[in-house]
């Protein structure tokens, strides 16, 4: 028996379990690529118009920080810029989710042991997971390329966009494969891999805004961006990505052979024989379970805030060109300076991240329920409401903390350049909170109502993100764009706050969470 025996059946099993999610995710990314290109092409009737818009975008540091420089000052360049980042990130998330789910999660829940005792080789589970993830990512890239070609844009550029998606997805496949070998828990593995993804993003953003573009080569998202579809079309960057994947897989394989099934690389050390006094209430338990992840996020958000804040000076500089400044004001709905627009965009982006944190912390309820840990807690004097609220509190409080951290860090580092104060940025960060809370409440609602489908929460977040990114471009009706709570946040800093909107959102968040709680109180605990 070789160590790869059984890869085929495992792959089939994985496909049978996940085909729908994989197909839906791939199609969502392809749709993103196609519709942003199609909508952009139809937006500009002349080349000159497109070039003017492209020039404006390439001069906007919020665009640069989020998406990188425009690959070309053409309609195609404008049409592809968002897909470079969002499609690359989407493919990276997909690859990560698949690898993690079919290696570490399986092992943690003991299912792999059943498999490993059969006719399955030691390398087979990892191999199957990697093949699934790589195939998903490569299909995404290929379909993105084909969908753009159908719009009669440059075939080389279309293919290059496919390469962008593939580069990000393939390297993340390798990163996740290594991370899955390092820790014993799904969450731990996810934490490591996603932290590296975040680091790659920040490095890329710094490289693109700080004038040291060479820094971007340290980040695999920077590699993806440098493929520059419809610009330089550097298709060859696929080669280093494949090499990186191979190296990472070799590392993962070495680690795999150095550890036992079920364990991580780092052996567990003994812990305290008795519980600290704080670990005696549902809230104490929720805090204990979630504090590590929150600390990681908070550190990440502090770094993000400092980086964003340090770009304040360069953001202000562009506004000196009066024509650009005028267009920027228009773009932001007529409020504030270029600096304001820059920070508004960045903070809203950070708010989406905080919403993702809130959702994942709220879904902890489900990952406590499914394996049966909730059962032993709820068989004590702990009521369902108290248990639910303790995790909800950590989720909502944690997400709030993250926005406070990023606002303060950005404010402190921006204050040095004197263009904007801590108070203004903290206020702007706070103004996004209602949308963050609504997102978290969606997770609570789904947990109560559809426990086995509660991962749909992520589709909701993806929907909010896409509505924000593409809603205006696709000229979706206002009410459709308004489905996303992030569409009702006012325009701080610089512009007015939307107090009524905030109140409505808070009421909605409360209603969703309460409904979720009531539904949970009425249903069976399910595994």
């Amino acid at each position: 028996m070789t160590e790869l025996d059984g890869t085929g059946p495992l792959l089939q099993l994985a496909w049978r379990r996940d085909s729908w999610v994989v197909i839906a995710s791939v199609l969502a990314i392809v749709l993103l690529a196609y519709s942003s290109m199609a909508a952009t092409l139809s937006l500009y009737s002349t080349d000159a118009e497109a070039r003017a818009a492209a020039a404006l975008m390439s001069a906007t540091s919020s665009v640069k920080a989020m998406y990188g420089p425009l690959p070309a000052l053409t309609a195609e360049g404008v049409g592809v810029i968002k897909t470079i980042t969002m499609g690359g990130l989407g493919a990276a998330f997909l690859a990560h989710a698949l690898v993690r789910r079919h290696t570490r999660t399986e092992e943690e829940e003991g299912r792999l042991e059943l498999v490993a005792a059969g006719v399955v080789g030691r390398r087979a589970p990892l191999a199957a997971a990697v093949i699934l993830a790589a195939s998903a990512v490569l299909s995404t890239g290929l379909l993105c390329a084909l969908s753009l070609m159908s719009l009669k844009v440059s075939p080389a550029g279309s293919l290059a966009l496919g390469v962008v998606v593939a580069v990000a997805g393939l390297v993340m496949t390798g990163v996740s494969a290594v991370a899955a070998q390092l820790t014993t828990t799904t969450r731990g593995a996810g934490g490591i891999a996603l932290a590296l993804l975040g680091l790659a993003f920040i490095l890329r953003a710094v490289a693109d805004t700080s004038g040291i573009p060479v820094l971007g080569w340290l980040s695999f998202l920077g590699w993806a961006e440098r493929v520059s579809p419809f610009g330089a079309n550097r298709l060859w960057i696929l080669a280093p990505a494949v090499v990186a994947l191979a190296v990472l897989l070799a590392v993962a394989d070495r680690l795999l052979h150095r550890r036992d099934l079920g364990s991580g690389l780092w052996a567990d050390r003994p812990g305290p024989a008795t519980a600290s006094p704080r670990l005696g209430t549902p809230l104490g338990l929720a805090w204990r379970l979630q504090r590590g992840a929150l600390a990681g996020w908070a550190i990440g958000y502090a770094v993000l805030g400092l980086v964003v804040g340090s770009l304040a000076g360069s953001a202000g500089a562009i506004a000196s060109d009066p024509k650009t400044a005028e267009m920027l004001r228009k773009m932001s709905g007529g409020h504030g300076s270029a600096t304001d627009v820059f920070f508004g965009t960045e903070l809203r982006f950070a708010a989406l991240g905080a919403a993702a944190y809130g959702m994942s912390a709220a879904l902890r309820l489900r990952s406590e329920e499914a394996p049966g840990r909730a059962e032993i807690v709820l068989a004590t004097a702990t009521t369902r409401w108290r248990w639910l609220l303790s995790h909800a509190l950590v989720a909502l409080g944690g997400a709030t903390l993250l926005m406070a951290v990023v606002g303060t860090a950005a404010g402190v580092s921006a204050a040095r350049s004197g263009v904007i104060g801590v108070g203004a940025l903290l206020g702007a960060a706070a103004s996004t909170l209602p949308a963050v809370w609504v997102s978290t409440a969606v997770a609570l609602l789904l947990f109560g109502l559809l426990p086995r489908r509660s991962a749909m929460t992520w589709a909701v977040l993806a929907g909010f993100l896409l509505l924000g990114e593409l809603g205006a471009l696709l000229k979706l009706p206002d009410w459709v764009q308004g489905i996303s709570p992030f569409a009702h946040l006012g325009s701080l800093p610089g512009g007015p706050a939307d107090l009524a909107g905030a109140v409505v959102l808070v009421v909605i968040a409360g209603g969703l969470a309460a409904y979720g709680g009531v539904a949970f109180g009425r249903r069976d605990l399910v595994s």
Binding site: E108, T184, T185, G262, D268, P270, G271, P272, A273, T274, A275, L279, G280, T281, P282, L285, R288, L289, P371, G372, R373, E375, I376, V377, L378, A379, T380, A381, T382, T383, R384, R522, R523, D524, L525
Partner: protein, 309 residues
Amino acid sequence: MLRNMALAITATGLRKTFGTTTALDGLDLTVEEGEVHGFLGPNGSGKSTTIRILLGLLRKDGGEVTLLGRDPWTDAPDVHCRLAYVPGDVVLWPNLTGGEVIDLLGRLRGGLDATKRAKLLERFDLDPTKKGRSYSKGNRQKVALVAALASDVPLLLLDEPTSGLDPLMEKVFQDCLREVRAEGRTVLLSSHILSEVEAVAERVSIVRKGVVVDTGSLADLRSLTRSTVVATLGTPLDLSATRAWPGVHAADLDPTNAQRVTLWIDTDHVGEVLRSLGEHGIRALTCQPPSLEELFLSQYKDDLAEVSP
């Protein structure tokens, strides 16, 4: 009976369906205060479902249920601070130690006895400093057992609590249960280990396909079933006449030896049958009361006739 007949658990006509499967189909169960009650039945018969309804973790679809005189669904917290639960498959938090989990569950229940805890850790030979993920199956089970046994609650709901324990620990568990019984606490013990039930339980209920098919003391249940008598006789027996004797369910001749006969008879009628057999000159005889194993096998099977033809 002299025993105080207060009831710790009552369930009448309990019904529960999951989609198209009917897990409980009118289940009746009563557990008296102060008894250890064995809860037996084949896989998938509804034992865990019953216990989860008793805990308010599942919602019943029909019937009545009270636990310590209260409704476990509406009064869950009140009831829960007076009971402890051990599931058959304990899942722990990967990064909490066993000691932390024991303390946590105890505190959530309203306190636990520190000296008892220390003694139990020693008796079960459990290392409380290990992280949840590094415990073996049996040791995870021990964590939940210590947490439950270290509290002073009047009711224990144990769902296959010893699955995965080695024989030594199984014995420690049985000793603990005897002490619990001596303290006058009530235990509902679901188990597939018949010797364990036989050792500690006073009464048992046997559930099959979501219905309790038999309930009573072990002695009562024994008398309900059949003994096997194998006799070698001086003069041959007329089988059809024998089958008409009171208490005889079936009779068979040994195909190789016409004088050897096997009878399946009601345990109550053993004396009469032996007297009748005596008239044929008994040369050799064995009489076996039903073993507990047979007793349960006969109850677990779909058709009693399959076991004793």
